[in-house]
C-alpha cells in the first residue's frame, strides 16, 4: 500500500479550497489530492462575484487558487468534469473521465439556486446568480437601457440588482416579503436600504408574488398575482439556495436538508467528509462564508487525524454593494425562542441614514443590525460569538470597541475633587458597576422588607 493516501474532493469552491490550504499547511505530503469541480475553473472568491458583475473587479482579481497553486501542491485538477456517482463499497467516484479511487472523500458540492416553479421559469433569459457563468450571462445581457427583473430581495438578489444597475440596466427587484432582506434586517434598516436602492434608480416592489414569467422563446415579462406586469429582457432568480445532496443521497449517505455530518465533519460513512453549503450540522445548513471556513478548519484536522470539533457558527452578513454599508449578525428577532421580549439598543441618525440595532439577552449580545455605518460590525460579531458579558459596557456598547476598550470615564462631574487631593480622587474602577451593584442590593433589601 502506498504511503500516500488518496484524497478525492468533489467541489472546488471556497469551502474545499480553504480546507486544502489548511491541509497542505499541516500535512503537505500526506495526501495525493484529486479535485473535481463542476465549473471549468478553480477556486475563486464566490462572494466577490458582485463586484465582478458591477464591473468594479475582474474575474482575475477574485481568483483564490490559480493553476500554479494547484501545481505547487500536486493537486490533480478535474475541473468541468461532473462526478456522477460515488461507489462507497469500492471507494471510487465515477465521472465522465472514468473512476477515481479514494482513501478519503470530501464532498463539497455546495448548493443550487432555488428556482420558483412558475410558468416560464425555464425560458431563455432566466438566470440564477450562483457562479461566474451566471455572472457573465448577466453581464452579456447588460446593455444600457435593457430591463432586468430580479426576483428575490435578499442578499444575492440585491447585489445582482445593484451590479446590473451599475451597468446601466433598468432594474426592478421583486420581493415576496414586506421588506427587503427580512432574514438579515429589521424593518427600519430595511426601509433605509430600500430608500438607498431607490435612490440609485432601482425599482423595488415588496410583497410581490410572481405568478408567471412570460415570453415567446425568450423572456419578455414577469407577471405578479396582483396583476402588475414588469417587462424584462433578463430575469435573475435569487430566491434562495438548496444544499446539493444528489450525489450523497444516491450513495445512501444520511441526509436531511443537507448531508448530515458530525462535529468532525464526517458523514455517515467515516471515510467520507462533507463540508460547506451542502453539509448539515446539528440541524443547521449554512450559506455564508464564516461557518464554511470554520468547517474547513475542522475537516482539514480530521483528515490529518488531529482532534477538532465544529460547533455552530454565528453568522454575519455584509451586503457587498459599493456605497451601501449594511451588516447583520446573530439573532435579532424581537423575542427569544421562548417568546420573551428581548432587550435592544437602537441608534438612529435619520439625516445621515445610519441605523444600528443591538439585541441583548441578559448580559449578552445576541444580534446586531447595522446600516449606513458598519465599521464596528465585526467587533459586535465577535461579542456575539464569544458570548461576552457586555453589562459593564452597555451604556456605550453601540459605539463599538473605541468606547468599550477605552479607559473608564469619570462620572464625577462637575464637582470634581480639588487637585492634589488623592483621597477625593479615589473611586471604584467602574463606578457605574459599583452603583448598579449598590442599587441591586438596595432593591434586594427593599424587596425583602
Amino acid at each position: 500500500m502506498s504511503s500516500v493516501e488518496r484524497l478525492v474532493v468533489i467541489g472546488a469552491g471556497m469551502a474545499s479550497g480553504r480546507m486544502l490550504e489548511h491541509l497542505f499547511e499541516a500535512a503537505p505530503d500526506r495526501y495525493a489530492v484529486t479535485l473535481f469541480g463542476a465549473e471549468p475553473r478553480g477556486n475563486y472568491n464566490r462572494i466577490m462575484l458582485s463586484p465582478v458583475l458591477s464591473g468594479e473587479k475582474t474575474y482575475a482579481e477574485i481568483v483564490t487558487h490559480d493553476a500554479a497553486w494547484y501545481a505547487r501542491h500536486g493537486v490533480t485538477c478535474r475541473f468541468g468534469e461532473a462526478v456522477t456517482r460515488i461507489d462507497r463499497a469500492r471507494r471510487v467516484v465515477v465521472s465522465d473521465g472514468g473512476e477515481t479511487h479514494y482513501d478519503r472523500l470530501v464532498i463539497a458540492t455546495g448548493s443550487q439556486p432555488f428556482i420558483i416553479p412558475v410558468p416560464g421559469h425555464d425560458l431563455p433569459g432566466v438566470v440564477t446568480y450562483r457562479d461566474l457563468d451566471d455572472t457573465e450571462a448577466m453581464i452579456a445581457a447588460a446593455r444600457p437601457g435593457a430591463r432586468a427583473v430580479v426576483i428575490g430581495g435578499g442578499l444575492l438578489g440585491l447585489e445582482a440588482a445593484a451590479g446590473m444597475r451599475l451597468r446601466g440596466m433598468d432594474v426592478t427587484v421583486l420581493h415576496l416579503m414586506p421588506h427587503l432582506m427580512e432574514r438579515q434586517l429589521d424593518p427600519s434598516a430595511s426601509a433605509l436600504l430600500r430608500h438607498e436602492l431607490e435612490g440609485r434608480g432601482i425599482r423595488v416592489h415588496c410583497s410581490a408574488n410572481t405568478s408567471a414569467i412570460t415570453g415567446a422563446g425568450q423572456v419578455e415579462a414577469v407577471a405578479l398575482d396582483d396583476g402588475t406586469v414588469y417587462p424584462a429582457d433578463l430575469v435573475c432568480m435569487a430566491v434562495g439556495i438548496r444544499p446539493s445532496t444528489n450525489l450523497a443521497k444516491a450513495a445512501d449517505l444520511a441526509c436531511g436538508r443537507g448531508i448530515l455530518v458530525d462535529d468532525q465533519m464526517l458523514t455517515s460513512d467515516p471515510a467520507i467528509l462533507a463540508l460547506g453549503e451542502c453539509a448539515e450540522h446539528d440541524g443547521m445548513v449554512y450559506g455564508l462564508v464564516a461557518p464554511l471556513y470554520d468547517m474547513a478548519k475542522v475537516a482539514a484536522k480530521t483528515l490529518t487525524g488531529a482532534p477538532a470539533a465544529y460547533a455552530r457558527t454565528e453568522t454575519a452578513t455584509k451586503l457587498k454593494v459599493t456605497g451601501v454599508d449594511l451588516y447583520s449578525a446573530g439573532d435579532f428577532a424581537p423575542t427569544d425562542p421562548q417568546g420573551a421580549a428581548r432587550e435592544e439598543i437602537v441608534f438612529r441618525d435619520p439625516a445621515r441614514g445610519i441605523y444600528k440595532r443591538l439585541v441583548l439577552e441578559g448580559d449578552h449580545l445576541v444580534g446586531a443590525v447595522m446600516y449606513g455605518d458598519t465599521t464596528d460590525g465585526a467587533w459586535f460579531f465577535g461579542q456575539i460569538r464569544q458570548r461576552a458579558d457586555v453589562s459593564a459596557i452597555r451604556d456605550t456598547l453601540i459605539f463599538g470597541p473605541d468606547a468599550a476598550e477605552a479607559a473608564p470615564l469619570d462620572p464625577m462631574v462637575a464637582a470634581a475633587a480639588s487637585p492634589g487631593d488623592p483621597a477625593a480622587r479615589q473611586r471604584p474602577s467602574s463606578p457605574a458597576a459599583a452603583l448598579r451593584a449598590a442599587n441591586d442590593r438596595h432593591r434586594a433589601v427593599s424587596a425583602a422588607a
Partner: protein, 888 residues
C-alpha cells in the same frame, strides 16, 4: 458723575468680590467688554488677581441684566416706578408707622449707596429696620470688636500677615475665599520658611496645604481652644503685664474663666489630641509676631461673638495688637462689608460706627442730617426682619443687591415671607433671581464697571470703584435710585446730591461729627475733596482725620474707642452649636464657598471658566459615613434638615471629618433643582450679633435613588424640570447634570422639551429598550444643537472634551459616545472590512510587533482572516511599512 472710559484706556478700579479689595485695571474694548488685570500699584494685591477677579471680563455682558424698571413684571417708566415706591412706602408708614417698612441691603453696595439707604431709613423714614447681608458674615465680628475695642475696628494691615512669625487661620479657607491674601501669605512663607502657619478648621481645605499645623477641631469648639491658649499665656508667663495694666480691663475675670480650660477638658471639647493642642500653644507662645486671621468659621456661629472675643482676649493679654506682624485680623467676605459697617447700614448701628442706643450719638447725627425722625433703638436684624415680614408686620420691603430668598437661613420661609409682604421692591442688576421673582417692583441698578463710588476692604482701605462702561438701558446707580425715592417721599433737600462724590463728602463730614462724639471712624480729612480729587483718590486707609495723613495700625499704644480708652477682655464659656446632633439628625452640615463662585452666582455663573471648576452643587462626606449610609461616590445624596431637603452630588472624601458634611452655598433655584443649601439651615443666631449659625445645622443623609442620571449640553438655555438638575455655562453652551425619578416614555420627546426645540429638529438617538440609557443629539444643518446622555448610573462621559467638541461643532456620533476624541488612535482607512481593521492599525502593528507576513498580521489582528479579499492590500502595506533590511 464720572464718564465711562474711552476704549483702550485702562481704568483703575476695585474688584467687586471678596473683602481683600484688590485693585483692578479694566481696559474697555469699546464693545461692552473689557480686558482685566491686577493693578500693580494697589496695596491690597500689587497686581495679583484670583480666578474670579481675572474672569470679571466674562461677567459684564448684558445677558440676563435688568435694563428697565418693571412694575408687576411689565416695563414701566422710571418716574412711575419711583412714584409707586414712594407712595407705597409713605402709605405704609402713614397707616402702620415707620416700623412697618424695611430695607434689606448688601455688602455689594458701594459706600455711597449704603450711606443714602441708611440716611433715608434712619433719618427720614424714622426706623432702624435696615439690615444687610453683612449680618450673615460679619455681624459677630462687629459685636466682638465693639465689646473689646469699643468700636468695630480691624487694628492691623495686610502687611502684618507677611511680617508675622506665626499666622493662625481660624475658620478661614483663605485659599479659596481670599485667594490673593493667601497668595501674599504663601509668598511670605516661601521667602521666610521659618514662618509658621496654623490652620484651625474642621475640614481639610485648599488652605491646609500651606499649614505647618492643622487643627481639625470639632465644629464650634473655638472658644474652648482659645480659652486654653489664654490659660497657657498666663501659665507660661506670656502676659504683657504693662500693656494689660495700661490698656485693658477685665483681665482677672477673663483669666478666671480661662484657667478652667485644662488640657484634658480642652481635648474633650475640641476633639483634638493633647499633643496637637500643646503644639498650637507652643507655636503661639514662642513667637511674639502672631496674627490670628478669622472669618466665617468664627462668625457664622451661635457663639460667634464669643469666638471673636476669645481670639481678641489672647491678643490683648499679650499686647500683640497694632504692632507689625501682630494682631487679630478679621477678613470680610464682601467687597464693601466694611463700608457698610462704616456708614452704619445695619439695624444695630447708627452711622460712622456710632450707636443708635446712645442718645448723644442719635442727636449728633440727627442734627447733621437735619433729620425729621430718628429711631430710638435698634431695628430688626436680618432673620427677625423676614420673620416680621412673614407675620405681616412689614408692609413694604425694599431689597437691594442681594438674594435673601437663597442666602438667608430657612430660605424657603424667607422666600415665603417676601412673597407674603404686600409690597416688595428689588433693585438689582440681574432680572431673574430667586428674589426678583418675588418682587412687585424691579428697579435696574448699575453694576460693577458702570457704577462709581468707594469700597472699604478688610484692612480699612478705601478704594474707588470707577466706571469704565456706560450705564446700560435705563439702569441707575443705587444711591441715585434711593435719593429719587427719598425726594419723592417728601425730602428733596436731604437727597439732592448731584454726584456720588457729593454723597461721599457728606459721609466724610459726618465721620468728623462721629469722631467728635468719640467714634473711631474718621475720614473727615476727605470731606472737602473736589469731584476731580474724589475721582483720582488713591486707595487710602482710615482713619483720615486730615487729608494726606492716612492711618495705619491701631491700638498698638492703646487708645481704644471705649469711654475709658481701655480694651475689654471678657470671661468666655464654650457653648456648643445651638442645636445638638441626635440619632434622628446625626450629621453637622457645614456650608461655605467654592473657589470660583460668588454668593448666589448671578454674576460668576455667566463665566464659563469659573463654572468649569465646580459646575454642580455637592456634598462632601467622609468615606466611613458614606459607606455606612450607602452613598456611592458621584451618586446623588438627599440632605434633609427639619426645614428643607437638598439633593446634591456626593463627593466622598476625608477632607470633611466623620460626622460632618460640607456643602457650598452658591446654588439657587435658577442654577439647580434642589441645591439651595440655606433652605436647610435653621435660623439659630448668635444672641448678641443676630448672625445665623450657618455651619452647624444637624441633618440626615440618604441616597437619592433616581431612575436615571443624565448629562446634557445645549446651545440654548435648557428648561429642566427633573427631580434633580444643575446647570452651568460653558463658552457657547449650557451644561446640565440631571436625574429623574421616572423614566420618560419617549426619550426623544423628553429631550426636545428639555432643550426647547421644535419637532422639526431631527434627533440622532440611541435608546436602550430595557434600561434608562438614552443618548440623543439634535442636529440642525450638521451642527449639534443639544446633547443628552442618560444612564442608570452617574453618566460616564469625558465632560470637558465633550463640551469643547460641542462648542467646536463636532459631529454628533462621537459626542454621543461620551468620547468625542476617542481613546484610540484613528484606525485609518478600513482595509479589512470583515473585521473593521484600518491601515493605520495594521501599519502600527507591522512596526511595533515586527510582523513580516500577511499570516502574521492575520494572527495578530485578525485582518484578512475572514473573506481574505484584503490580503493583497495587507501585503502592500507590509512592503510599505516593514523596516528595510540593510543591503549587503
Amino acid at each position: 458723575m464720572t464718564a465711562p472710559a474711552p476704549p483702550g484706556c485702562p481704568v483703575a478700579t476695585a474688584c467687586p468680590y471678596c473683602g481683600v479689595g484688590c485693585g483692578v485695571l479694566a481696559t474697555p474694548d469699546g464693545f461692552g467688554g473689557a480686558a482685566i488685570k491686577g493693578d500693580p500699584d494697589h496695596p491690597a494685591n500689587f497686581g495679583r488677581l484670583c480666578s474670579k477677579g481675572s474672569a470679571l471680563g466674562e461677567t459684564i455682558d448684558l445677558e440676563g441684566r435688568l435694563l428697565e424698571p418693571r412694575i408687576n413684571g411689565a416695563p414701566a417708566p422710571w418716574d412711575d416706578a419711583i412714584s409707586l415706591v414712594a407712595d407705597r412706602f409713605r402709605a405704609a408708614i402713614a397707616e402702620h408707622g415707620p416700623d412697618s417698612v424695611a430695607f434689606y441691603v448688601s455688602g455689594q453696595l458701594l459706600t455711597e449707596d449704603y450711606y443714602a439707604a441708611n440716611k433715608l431709613m434712619k433719618g427720614f423714614i424714622g426706623t432702624a429696620n435696615i439690615d444687610t447681608n453683612s449680618r450673615l458674615c460679619m455681624a459677630s465680628t462687629v459685636v466682638g470688636h465693639k465689646r473689646a475695642f469699643g468700636a468695630d475696628t480691624v487694628p492691623g494691615t495686610y502687611e502684618d500677615l507677611e511680617e508675622a512669625d506665626c499666622v493662625v487661620l481660624v475658620g478661614s479657607n483663605l485659599a479659596w475665599c481670599h485667594p490673593v491674601l493667601f497668595q501674599r501669605l504663601a509668598a511670605a512663607k516661601t521667602a521666610r520658611p521659618g514662618m509658621k502657619v496654623v490652620n484651625i478648621d474642621p475640614r481639610r481645605t485648599a488652605t491646609s496645604a500651606l499649614a505647618d499645623l492643622s487643627l481639625r477641631l470639632a465644629p464650634g469648639s473655638d472658644v474652648a481652644l482659645f480659652n486654653y491658649l489664654l490659660n497657657q499665656i498666663e501659665a507660661e508667663g506670656a502676659v504683657d503685664a504693662s500693656f494689660v495694666e495700661a490698656h485693658v480691663t477685665g483681665f482677672p475675670e477673663a483669666m478666671a474663666e480661662a484657667r478652667r480650660a485644662t488640657l484634658k477638658r480642652t481635648a474633650e471639647i475640641t476633639g483634638l489630641s493633647p499633643v496637637e493642642i500643646e503644639a498650637f500653644a507652643q507655636l503661639w507662645l514662642r513667637r511674639e509676631r502672631v496674627v490670628t486671621v478669622f472669618s466665617q468659621g468664627v462668625n457664622q456661629s451661635s457663639a460667634g461673638v464669643d469666638k471673636v472675643n476669645a481670639i481678641l482676649n489672647c491678643h490683648l493679654a499679650t499686647g500683640r495688637i497694632g504692632r507689625p506682624g501682630m494682631g487679630p485680623f478679621s477678613v470680610t467676605g464682601q467687597p464693601n462689608a466694611m463700608g457698610g459697617r462704616e456708614v452704619g447700614g445695619l439695624a444695630t448701628t447708627l452711622a460712622c460706627h456710632l450707636d443708635l442706643t446712645v442718645p448723644e450719638h442719635r442727636e449728633g447725627v440727627r442734627t447733621f442730617w437735619n433729620a425729621p425722625a430718628m429711631p430710638q433703638g435698634n431695628g430688626l436684624k436680618a432673620v427677625d426682619l423676614f420673620r416680621a415680614s412673614a407675620d405681616g408686620r412689614i408692609k413694604a420691603l425694599w431689597i437691594m443687591s442681594t438674594n435673601p430668598a437663597v442666602s438667608l437661613p430657612e430660605a424657603d420661609d424667607v422666600a415665603a415671607a417676601i412673597a407674603a409682604c404686600p409690597f416688595v421692591v428689588v433693585s438689582d442688576i440681574i432680572a431673574d433671581t430667586d428674589t426678583t421673582r418675588l418682587a412687585d417692583v424691579l428697579l435696574p441698578a448699575t453694576g460693577w464697571g458702570e457704577k462709581s463710588g468707594t469700597v472699604t476692604n478688610s484692612e480699612r482701605r478705601i478704594s474707588r470703584q470707577r466706571p469704565f462702561l456706560p450705564a446700560p438701558g435705563q439702569a441707575r446707580p443705587d444711591w441715585r435710585i434711593i435719593a429719587d425715592v427719598g425726594a419723592a417721599m417728601g425730602w428733596p433737600e436731604a437727597f439732592a446730591w448731584e454726584s456720588e462724590a457729593a454723597v461721599f463728602r457728606e459721609h466724610a463730614a459726618l465721620s468728623g461729627v462721629a469722631s467728635s462724639l468719640g467714634g473711631d471712624f474718621d475720614i473727615s480729612g476727605l470731606k472737602h475733596l473736589g469731584d476731580a480729587e474724589y475721582d483720582a483718590l488713591d486707595p487710602v486707609q482710615w482713619p483720615v482725620p486730615h487729608h494726606g495723613e492716612p492711618g495705619g495700625r491701631l491700638f498698638g499704644e492703646g487708645g481704644f474707642a471705649t469711654p475709658d480708652g481701655r480694651a475689654r477682655m471678657l470671661p468666655l464659656v464654650h457653648r456648643a452649636p445651638a442645636t445638638p446632633l441626635s440619632p434622628e439628625w446625626p450629621f453637622r452640615l457645614n456650608t461655605g464657598r467654592v473657589r470660583d463662585h460668588w454668593h448666589t452666582m448671578t454674576r460668576t455663573a455667566k463665566s464659563a471658566r469659573l463654572s468649569a471648576h465646580m459646575a454642580e452643587p455637592y456634598l462632601e462626606i467622609h468615606p466611613d459615613d458614606a459607606a455606612a449610609a450607602g452613598i456611592e461616590p458621584a451618586t446623588l445624596v438627599s440632605v434633609e434638615s427639619p426645614f428643607a431637603t437638598a439633593v446634591l452630588r456626593a463627593i466622598v472624601t476625608d477632607r470633611t471629618p466623620r460626622g460632618s458634611v460640607f456643602a457650598p452655598m452658591h446654588w439657587t433655584a435658577i442654577t439647580a433643582a434642589r441645591g439651595r443649601i440655606d433652605a436647610l439651615v435653621g435660623a439659630e443666631t448668635d444672641p448678641l450679633s443676630g448672625q445665623p449659625e450657618s455651619k452647624a445645622q444637624p441633618v440626615r443623609l440618604s441616597p437619592f435613588r433616581p431612575a436615571w442620571y443624565g448629562f446634557a449640553l445645549s446651545r440654548r438655555a435648557p428648561l429642566p424640570t427633573t427631580a434633580y438638575w444643575a446647570e452651568a455655562r460653558g463658552p457657547a453652551h449650557w451644561r446640565v447634570e440631571l436625574a429623574g425619578t421616572a423614566q420618560p416614555a419617549d426619550w426623544v420627546a423628553f429631550a426636545r422639551t428639555l432643550f426647547d426645540l421644535p419637532g422639526t429638529v431631527e434627533a440622532v438617538s440611541v435608546i436602550d429598550s430595557a434600561r434608562p440609557v438614552a443618548r440623543i443629539a439634535f442636529v440642525v444643518d450638521g451642527r449639534t444643537e443639544a446633547l443628552l446622555l442618560t444612564s442608570d448610573a452617574p453618566v460616564e462621559a469625558a465632560r470637558a472634551p465633550l463640551a469643547e467638541a460641542f462648542d467646536a461643532g463636532a459631529e454628533a456620533r462621537p459626542m454621543l459616545s461620551g468620547r468625542p476624541a476617542g481613546n484610540r488612535p484613528d484606525p485609518g482607512p478600513i482595509v479589512c472590512s470583515c473585521h473593521g481593521i484600518g491601515a493605520n492599525t495594521i501599519a502600527a502593528a507591522i512596526a511595533a510587533e515586527g510582523l513580516s507576513t500577511v499570516e502574521a498580521i492575520g494572527a495578530a489582528l485578525g485582518a484578512g482572516t475572514a473573506c481574505g479579499s484584503c490580503r493583497p492590500e495587507i501585503a502592500t502595506l507590509l512592503q510599505a511599512f516593514q523596516p528595510e533590511i540593510a543591503a549587503e
